[in-house]
């Protein structure tokens, strides 16, 4: 009784407790009796493959989903999270993976949206801006409260999302894959901010794929595998390979595969290429590079620095405003997408649901698309569906696509398997040049490895590969040469064997290669 009346003893050590949380979607159990205890003032990482149930668990905690079984306790007291407003009232705040900001509004308007400060019934912009400035100073989240959000970079958008959470009085901040869109430097700044929160007595829960950053920043790790919490340990007690083993239940190699040197002839040559984005702003500025046969050239960069536009120009989906690009001996800038493909391009697009597959069609028809005029799919004037099914069955086996059969609807498959359908089609075209944009976006670690192996096999066959990825570790594993893009320009070129994450990170943030090397 006595001890309970003193505040120090009254506060239980756990800010958040999830006890026996089970969440089912139909017959699929996304969370299976998960226990999770998060100590106040700590940074708690939740790791696991895609589909392991991380996001579901956080949505349950935040009141976006209702658990079928189990209990949530905040500061030791049971709480029913009926909807997010309850969670917010309990001092929880969530920074979603996809930002929910309104581009035409100012930073301050976004921060205070839904809880506007008003004087005499009218929104007081000045007061809102002052409060935002004050908060951003206090937590070291530099933003200009008067700027339009639509003009800001992704890293700053994330700061605004964090400010939104803080202004609502959050003491526990949940972040869903916060670094997926950041440069290594921006990530480090974020980690410093999170560490500051923890030192202030706040609690941080974050979901991540990137094991390095989990090791770098978190105090405790919980590993989820197929809906179950398989381990919760202090981070210092786990190595990276142990984490992977816990996540996928087997060994996965991160090592850079050994490879023979490339001596091939130039297949793709890009010279002084300029192009504009959808808003007519320059998206590519004076880009020049070559890709030789049997070589993987990687393009690194934070998403939105011209990589998408580069892929689209090469694939004939976006006009160039200036420059030249040749594939083999042909100028491809004047050609239609179909002619470029005939000239020797195979393309794995960055957004597979938009340009990679027709989600409503079967696997077999997706594998036929674009080459229906050729053998073995063509029979006289008609399509030979029997042959298409035979081909599809073979590819499903070869690329290990987990599906019920060639007639299965593509939309039904998981992200990794949909990606494999795209790869199966593009990698079997015998094209001398492969353009691969984000090969493993949203693909879990097991499938990632299979895709990486397949890319290496294509390289061995002497195919020229341009690999665009926002995941630096992927490029450092696969690429022979890494070109870094920033704001539409190539900032430099790094040999894959000697690539250094810090140097590339600086170039991704816009520092010229000469300066990076001078500093090193």
């Amino acid at each position: 009784m006595d001890s309970a009346s003193t505040p120090a003893a009254a506060v239980p050590p756990y800010a958040i407790e999830l006890v026996g949380i089970t969440k089912r979607f139909g017959t699929f159990t996304a969370n299976d009796g998960i226990d999770l205890r998060v100590r106040r003032g700590s940074i708690h990482a939740i790791i696991g493959e895609n589909g392991a149930g991380k996001t579901t668990l956080m949505n349950v905690l935040f009141g976006l989903l209702q658990p079928d079984e189990g209990e949530i306790r905040v500061d030791g007291k049971p709480v029913v999270m009926a909807d997010p407003s309850v969670a917010i009232a309990q001092g929880l705040g969530m920074v979603h993976q996809h930002f929910k900001l309104v581009p035409s509004l100012s930073v301050a308007e976004n921060v205070f949206l839904g809880m506007e400060i008003r004087t005499r019934g009218l929104i007081d912009h000045k007061k809102q801006e002052d409060r935002t400035r004050e908060l951003s100073r206090r937590f070291g989240l530099a933003v200009d409260p008067t700027e339009r959000v639509g003009l800001l970079s992704v890293g700053i958008e994330q700061r605004i999302e964090i400010l939104k959470v803080l202004v609502r009085g959050a003491r526990t901040v949940i972040l869903d894959e916060p670094t997926a869109v950041l440069t290594p430097q921006e990530s480090r700044e974020l980690f410093a901010t999170l560490r500051g929160f923890a030192n202030d007595g706040m609690t941080v829960i974050f979901i991540s794929h990137h094991l390095e950053e989990v090791i770098e920043v978190s105090d405790t790790v919980t590993v989820l595998r197929r809906g179950k919490a398989v381990a919760t340990r202090p981070t210092s007690e786990l190595s990276k390979s142990e984490m992977v083993r816990l996540m996928v239940d087997r060994e996965v190699s991160f090592a850079r595969p050994a490879r023979p040197a490339t001596q091939g002839a130039t297949v793709l040559s890009v010279r002084d290429l300029w192009a504009r984005d959808d808003r007519r702003h320059p998206a590519l500025r004076d880009v020049s590079f070559d890709v030789r046969a049997g070589e993987i050239v990687g393009i690194a960069g934070v998403a939105g620095n011209g990589q998408t536009e580069l892929a689209e120009v090469i694939a004939g989906l976006r006009p160039a405003s200036h420059g030249a690009a040749t594939l083999g001996a042909r100028d491809i800038l004047a050609l239609s997408p179909a002619s470029i493909r005939n000239a020797g391009l195979a393309h794995v697009p960055g957004d597979r649901m938009v340009r990679g597959v027709d989600g409503n069609a079967s696997i077999a028809s997706n594998l036929v698309m674009g080459r229906q005029f050729r053998a073995p799919w063509r029979k006289g004037w008609l399509l030979d569906w029997k042959a298409a099914d035979v081909e599809a069955t073979r590819m499903i086996e070869r690329f290990d696509i987990r599906a019920r059969g060639p007639a299965d609807t593509v939309k039904r498959l998981s992200g990794g398997n949909i990606q494999k359908v795209v790869l199966a089609r593009e990698f079997t075209n015998d094209a001398p040049f492969l353009l691969i944009d984000q090969p493993t976006r949203g693909v879990d670690i097991g499938a990632q490895e299979a895709i990486h192996d397949e890319i290496m096999r294509q390289r061995e066959k002497g195919i020229a590969i341009l690999l665009i990825s926002v995941q630096l570790d992927e490029l450092m594993k696969l690429a022979d040469r890494i070109l870094v893009m920033f704001n539409g320009r190539l900032m430099g070129s790094v040999d894959g064997e000697e690539a250094d994450e810090d140097q590339i990170g600086l170039m991704m943030a816009g520092v010229a290669q000469s300066q990076v090397e001078a500093a090193a």
């Binding site: 929910k100 009218l122 006009p319 030249a324």
Partner: protein, 326 residues
Amino acid sequence: MEVLTSLFNVALLVAMLRTTAPILLVALGGSFTTKAGIFNIGLEGQMLIGAFFAVLGSIWTGSAWGGVLCGVAAALVFALIFALLVVSFRANEVVVGLALNILAGGMTISLMKAVFGTRGSIVGRGIVGLPKVQIPYARDVLGPYAQLISGYTPMVYLAFVAVPLFVLFYRRTRLGLHIRVVGEKPEAAEALGISITRVRYTASLLCGLFAGLAGAHLSLGYITMFTENMSSGRGFMAVAILIFSNGDPLRVLAGCLLFGFADAFSLRLQTFGYPSYLILAVPYLVALTALFALSYRARPKLIRETAESMRRFLRAETPSDTTRPS
């Protein structure tokens, strides 16, 4: 010279302001739904039903304001049905809007037959028009130019005064901000606990209010009568203005003034003996052309993409063209 002075004079400006008012009112109403992310093609019907019930109400109550109230109420009922189908039942907004437009057209005709036993138009029969507001001392100060600011029905003043209020509404009020957010980024609104449904219902009903006022002005202010289909495409014109202006009050005003000018101008031209069918098409042609030219940079995606692919196609025809200036 003589032709020009007889075309362009104070009377033309006065006519322009008068013809601008109803379309401005209905377009401002539509700005609520446009900003809230609803494509409201039902403005025409709401305006027409408002015009009819305004006449009916004015006969029943013997007062112009009673008429306005009835017109607004009828338009609100239409707006509520629209919101119910589109927001709650997620029906396609174009289909629902068109259906309500057709319903309004048919309903006014049958009600006219049922209540008055006539077709075509209702004139006289005790319809009370809206009073004209004479601004005191205007004639003494401005002389012949007094008619520019004085002598309109209250709706005309309301329409123009509403524009700055709308600017304030979207910038400084909570509801205005939430309407914008719901239209621009609904998932942001949802994540912050702003009810999309409630905001969209509110926007639809506010739209109905203004469409009803516009209708009442048409049948009680403009002229004191009701004729079949008397909104004659103004609602659709407002929809076009809304698409090009994205619902911004000042740009809505500019678009409406343009249309009002063209409308007044074509009335003038009629006195010169041109074929009337041709002349009646003038305001729509002028307004559309000008709007298209003005918003060329912000032209709708579809047009942009079509132009883009045509350009690409033409270029693909001439592959020798390798160096291409931007």
